[in-house]
């Protein structure tokens, strides 16, 4: 019941060990990126799994993210600045969505949907010796499993984010203009006047980074799975937790590091 309390040194040790593991995985993934044979079949399958199949949940969360964001922005302008100023909500909503909220929502959704599935699938392969079998049949597990997944996430998260942006901004428009009767022409004009392409683009850069994080954490946890079904469960949970936390931290750092406009 009571686990023996380990010294902090023990945890620091584990932390550095795991950093080393991840570092090595990153290194080997990049090294294998350009090597043949190139696993096209799996790559396409992963594109579908990460992209197409995540689209419904991404669109749904983007729509509601856009709606509440619009709701509070409307309240803010209406209450603090006064009736009529709500048209300035357009660019603020669009900026907040495309730079922050949508990339994060996409990242968290895909971490839960795809990252966990990667950890579970690879973890099961690990404990049933399928990874060993891959090796013995001439397929490098990194090249065969990790590279296509990482590439697929790297490409598909920005795509999902584009769709999320469109739906989220449309939902903001719907709330303000259709539901709350904000002036349609001014609302749209303000968006076009103040939004820049870079605002959308910097969100896509973030999404691509989140994609790499999700795939690498999922594969890393999968490949180090030990100890039966319980181990697979643990790898899955840890993937979602680690990837989600990392996404939020890295998001802040990127927001700080990426220039506000070009």
């Amino acid at each position: 019941m009571f686990r023996k309390v380990k010294s902090p040194l023990f945890y620091i040790n584990i932390f550095f060990e795991e950093m080393g593991e991840v570092g090595l995985l990153i290194f080997r993934t990049f090294k294998n990126l350009f090597k043949k044979p190139w696993e096209k079949g799996i790559f396409i399958q992963q594109l579908e799994e990460v992209g197409v199949r995540s689209l419904p949940v991404v669109l749904l969360t983007a729509a509601f993210g856009g709606l509440v964001f619009a709701l509070q922005t409307y309240v803010g302008f209406h209450r603090y600045i006064g009736p009529g100023s709500e048209t300035y909500g357009g660019p603020i909503i669009s900026l907040g969505l495309s730079k922050e909220l949508i990339p994060i929502l996409v990242g968290l959704m895909v971490a839960g949907r795809v990252g966990s599935a990667m950890a579970a699938e690879i973890g099961t392969m690990k404990i049933t010796e399928q990874i060993d079998a891959l090796f013995s049949l001439g397929a490098d597990p990194i090249r065969y499993l990790v590279v296509p997944r990482t590439l697929a996430c790297f490409i598909m998260l920005p795509c999902l984010t584009v769709f999320g942006d469109i739906v989220g901004i449309a939902a903001g428009f719907f709330y303000n203009v259709v539901l709350m009767g904000v002036n349609r022409v001014l609302y749209v004009r303000n968006i076009l006047l103040y939004m820049e392409l870079w605002d959308v683009f910097s969100g896509l850069i973030k999404a691509a980074v989140f994609g790499i994080i999700i795939a690498l954490i999922g594969c890393w946890q999968g490949l180090k799975t030990e100890g039966g079904a319980e181990g697979v469960g643990r790898a899955t949970t840890r993937t979602v937790v680690i990837a989600s936390v990392l996404i939020l931290i890295v998001n802040f750092l990127l927001s700080k590091a990426l220039p506000a406009n070009l």
């Binding site: 699938e121 049933t128 010796e129 399928q130 060993d132 079998a133 090796f135 049949l137 001439g138 397929a139």
Partner: protein, 248 residues
């Protein structure tokens, strides 16, 4: 062809291999016997580099494979076929894709040729018309035989079998024995077989080695093993509960 020198391996505090010395010559069939949990599968995994030893060497044609990195290892794994104890079939692929996996990566055959080889190798293990099935649709014994077909499909020159006949009915098991003998005699394949089945070991093996407490305690022809003076070997091959080997 394969020479294992003073191989040591522990997991945590569990000293599994404590100085194994073993040699497999070209075209020879060697059976390794030993109690459950004594480290036979661990030994096998060292031979194709899936595990790295704590100490000791594994030479394949004079090259020490314990020093190779993954990339260099891939060049020699082509020469090996491995049947895993738990079959390790890829469960997201059909039987046909499982068997063709090595063929696609290790050979330059055309699609048609690969297709033909898949069918041929499945037939060798007594399976027909199962290419499109998924592994979970097969019985345990059928899975084992698919694993066997996958391991031999690309004509490796060294085959490692981890309990090929476990979980298979006696008639099929004997057919597999014949297959193992044929691979050795006709194709000049070197084979290492892990087995608990003494009848099969006597039938297929040129030599039998017994692994006990992390070491090879006896090696010899089936005749020599049958007539061994070592009470541990005698107890094992006759499957007696009483004797020097502790049971519990």
């Amino acid at each position: 062809m394969i020479r294992i020198v003073d191989l040591h391996k522990s997991f945590g505090g569990n000293k599994v291999l404590r100085g194994v010395n073993l040699q497999l010559r070209r075209g020879e069939t060697l059976a390794v016997i030993g109690q459950s949990g004594c480290g036979k599968s661990v030994l096998l995994k060292h031979i194709i580099g899936l595990l790295k030893p704590d100490k000791g060497k594994v030479y394949v044609d004079g090259e020490d494979i314990t020093l190779l990195n993954d990339e260099e290892l891939h060049k020699i794994t082509r020469r090996f076929g491995m049947l895993f104890q738990g079959t390790a079939l890829f469960d997201s692929m059909t039987v046909g894709q499982n068997v063709s996996f090595g063929l696609e990566r290790y050979t330059d055959h055309s699609k048609e040729k690969i297709h033909e080889l898949v069918r041929e190798n499945l037939a060798k293990v007594g399976l027909r018309g199962v290419e499109h099935l998924m592994p979970f649709e097969l019985s345990g014994g059928m899975r084992k035989r698919v694993g066997l077909a996958r391991a031999i499909a690309y004509s490796p020159d060294i085959i490692l079998y981890d309990e090929p006949s476990t979980g298979i009915d006696p008639i099929r098991a004997d057919a597999i024995n014949d297959l193992i003998i044929r691979m050795g005699k006709e194709m000049k394949v070197s084979e290492l077989i892990i087995t608990h089945d003494m009848v099969s070991a006597y039938k297929v093996a040129d030599k039998i080695a017994m692994l006990y407490e992390g070491k090879i305690i006896e090696i010899g022809t089936p005749e020599e093993i049958k007539n061994s003076k070592n009470p541990i070997v005698q107890q094992f091959i006759h499957g007696k509960a009483e004797g020097p080997i502790e049971n519990w």
